[in-house]
């Protein structure tokens, strides 16, 4: 503790009225904390880089002159029919069909990001709406919705995905829907739990006493208090969804070939990793970098939003 000299104190008091005191809400404070977190900056940079690469994929393909699905059996494969390693023509080497691995990894980022973000958005909206309704209405509504969430969480999702894909055939939309369907319940359960505790706050009663209806209490009073955990959960759900997509593609249940996906490329590389190290390495590294960045960013967001820590509540 330092003792302020009288002169300094007077100067501070004189300066105070001229500087308008800006109200700093909880969001502003969290943002300030996030900006000062090196892990957050680094992982955000990696994500921005990968997003930029995904956006620039067609431009890169144009620049190197190789489309994502163009096969080069003459220059892209050895005389024995094996992938060729990194060279000036193919910067990251080729795959088993003589396609440019660099272009395919960049195009794969598009699928990963699209599926990750779209599935997370769907799952988050569904989880928040169902969790809010279950927590707010309680009684029979809660019983039904909570049991439904338990059922979804206990579903063997791979078997379900295999069954669904064998009926519909693999596609991007089915992949997104399957991932969202198996992810929303985890968010729904946490939202329900938080809603149950926020519901008991006096300001909810105050809202009822001024005449608010159920929708207003749920979305104006309760939802803002849930945003922090929901943002954290959603950020952490993106990498899970990306890995989920890679898993499905790896098993041939995701997006149909020849569309480039990281999971599909890893699957194709299984037979060649002993002779072509670059084939599994680059899609694998891309997957690792993206999921790690999202996970670290999620952790940083959680710390920024609540330094006291709800680690006990949300993982």
């Amino acid at each position: 503790m330092t003792i302020t000299a009288p002169g300094q104190a007077a100067a501070g008091a004189a300066a105070a009225p001229t500087v308008a005191i800006q109200g700093r809400g909880p969001w502003r404070l969290a943002w300030d904390r996030l900006r000062r977190d090196p892990a957050a900056i680094a992982s955000a940079a990696v994500i921005v880089l990968i997003v930029a690469a995904a956006v620039a994929a067609p431009a890169v393909a144009h620049a190197v002159g190789h489309g994502p699905n163009d096969q080069y059996p003459d220059v892209g494969l050895t005389t024995a029919g094996l992938p060729v390693g990194p060279s000036r023509r193919f910067l990251l080497g080729t795959d088993n069909l003589g396609r440019d691995l660099l272009v395919r990894v960049l195009y794969g980022a598009r699928i990963s990001l699209l599926v990750g973000v779209a599935a997370t958005l769907l799952a988050t909206v569904a989880g928040v709406v169902v969790g809010l309704a279950a927590g707010y209405f309680s009684g029979l509504v809660d019983l039904t919705l909570a049991r439904f969430m338990d059922v979804v969480l206990s579903f063997p999702y791979l078997l379900f995905a295999i069954a669904l894909v064998s009926v519909h055939g693999p596609s991007l939309a089915i992949t997104i829907l399957v991932i969202a369907f198996f992810s929303w319940a985890a968010i729904g359960r946490i939202v329900r739990g938080q809603t149950l505790s926020i519901r008991e706050q006096e300001y909810i009663e105050a809202s009822w006493s001024v005449g608010s209806g159920a929708a207003r209490v749920m979305f104006v009073e309760i939802l803002p208090n849930l945003l922090a955990p929901v943002i954290v959960l959603a950020t952490l759900l993106i990498p899970t969804a990306i890995v989920f997509e890679a898993t499905l593609s790896f098993l041939g249940l995701g997006v149909a070939p020849p569309t480039a996906t990281w999971g599909g490329m890893l699957s194709d590389s299984l037979a060649f990793y002993q002779v072509a190290w670059w084939f599994p390495l680059f899609p694998g590294l891309a997957l690792l970098a993206l999921t790690l960045a999202f996970n670290l960013l999620g952790d940083s967001v959680r710390d920024a939003l609540d330094p006291a820590g709800w680690r006990t509540v949300i993982g």
Binding site: G23, G25, P26, Q201, E202, Y203, E205, A206, S207, W208, S209, V210, G211, S212, G213, R216, V220, E221, P224, N225, L227
Partner: protein, 365 residues
């Protein structure tokens, strides 16, 4: 406030009962219920401040929530300004909510930490569609802020940026922005420091004069009640023990429980405090799940007799009291009674020959 006629009641509660089920319901067994409020009739007259006093858990907050229909009644009636609002749905209640508002106890818990103060205070305007545009809403909110002594410039701040006393002013502003007739204050000052408490009490008194308000003022602090209320109703275990004008009640309490409560009010003068007789009651407040038969206070009452076990006393004027001073006691306190006596052994038959006609009904659990 002067004596008002019966027809001048702004809020009238008739035999209000609120039971809460507790615990697991087993097949074939009736669930236990908490008898939070068990038959309370009370009226709040236009322009007065009615104090509702009692210990923690006596049901005063539950009664307030029944009166404002935040809770559905188990039985009984609530009549506000001549309209029976007992059975109205939330939607049907909405127009009435403009007329009665609540101020809550906890200045921290009663304001949503994620919303700006202006939007919290403006909530009633938005809900009732009285916003007349965002500029009009802002003007009315800032008027309300000024009314309760807040700086209207702080419209965009969050509750966390205010002190406890200022937050309670925010709560009052929210309640007043619709200019209601009745304000139900549920322990509005008990969470505040003593110095802040006086500010809020004075604010409430000023607002009552300016805006012609009627207050139902709930508190467990008898000195605060004495300061702000015109009439006082004392609750014990879900029932009213005594209702009287404030001066009468403090000068001459008739219910032994009220006498004991008043004897426990701290007196700032140490000499006076030493000389005063402090009534220490026997035992604890019984559980409201199995309230005692007859008079609820009989297991702890130094004046209890057989009749107190057998028959619940009615809330009527006792022994020459005015019509406005009603007491639920068979044997009201008379001057010179020694209430420091131990609880008499009324549960043994034959002890009190005159009243001992019926077998003991069992006092409580």
């Amino acid at each position: 406030m002067g004596a008002s006629q019966d027809g001048d009641a702004l809020l009238r509660l008739r035999d209000v009962v609120k039971h809460f089920p507790v615990g697991q319901r087993r097949v074939g067994a009736t669930a236990d219920v908490v008898h939070a409020v068990d038959g309370v009739s009370l009226e709040v007259r236009r322009g007065e401040t009615l104090g509702l006093v009692g210990e923690t858990g006596c049901g005063k907050s539950t009664l307030a929530r029944c009166a404002t229909r935040l809770l559905a009644l188990t039985s009984g009636r609530v009549v506000f300004d001549g309209h029976d609002i007992t059975a109205l749905s939330r939607r049907q209640l909405r127009p009435f909510r403009r007329e009665f508002q609540m101020v809550f106890q906890d200045p921290y818990g009663s304001l949503n930490p994620h919303r700006r103060v202006g939007s919290i205070i403006g909530d009633p305007l938005t809900v009732h569609g009285l916003a007349d545009g965002s500029a009009g809403r802002r003007r009315r909110v800032q008027e309300a802020m000024e009314l309760v002594g807040l700086n209207p410039e702080h419209y965009n701040r969050y509750p966390a940026e205010f002190s406890g006393g200022q937050r309670q002013r925010i709560g009052v502003a929210r309640a007043l922005v619709l200019r209601p007739k009745l304000l139900v204050c549920d322990e509005p000052v008990s969470a505040l420091d003593v110095s802040i408490r006086a500010q809020i009490i004075n604010l409430l008194a000023d607002l009552q004069r300016e805006l012609d308000l009627t207050y139902l003022f709930i508190s467990h602090d008898l000195s605060v009640v004495r300061q702000v209320c015109d009439r006082v109703a004392v609750m014990y275990l879900g029932k009213l023990a005594e209702v009287a004008p404030v001066a009468d009640l403090y000068r001459r309490p008739r219910h032994p429980y009220v006498a004991a409560l008043l004897s426990a009010v701290p007196v700032p003068d140490p000499d006076l405090s030493d000389r005063r007789q402090r009534i220490i009651l026997a035992g604890e407040v019984p559980t409201p799940v199995h309230p005692p038969a007859g008079c609820r206070f009989h297991p702890r009452c130094p004046k209890a007799r057989r009749r107190c076990v057998d028959q619940a006393p009615e809330l009527v004027p006792r022994g020459g009291d005015e019509a406005r001073h009603v007491t639920a006691c068979h044997f009201p306190v008379e001057p010179g009674d020694d209430l420091a006596l131990p609880h008499p052994p009324i549960d043994q038959p034959g002890q009190d020959a005159g009243d001992d006609l019926a077998p003991v009904a069992g006092g409580g659990r």
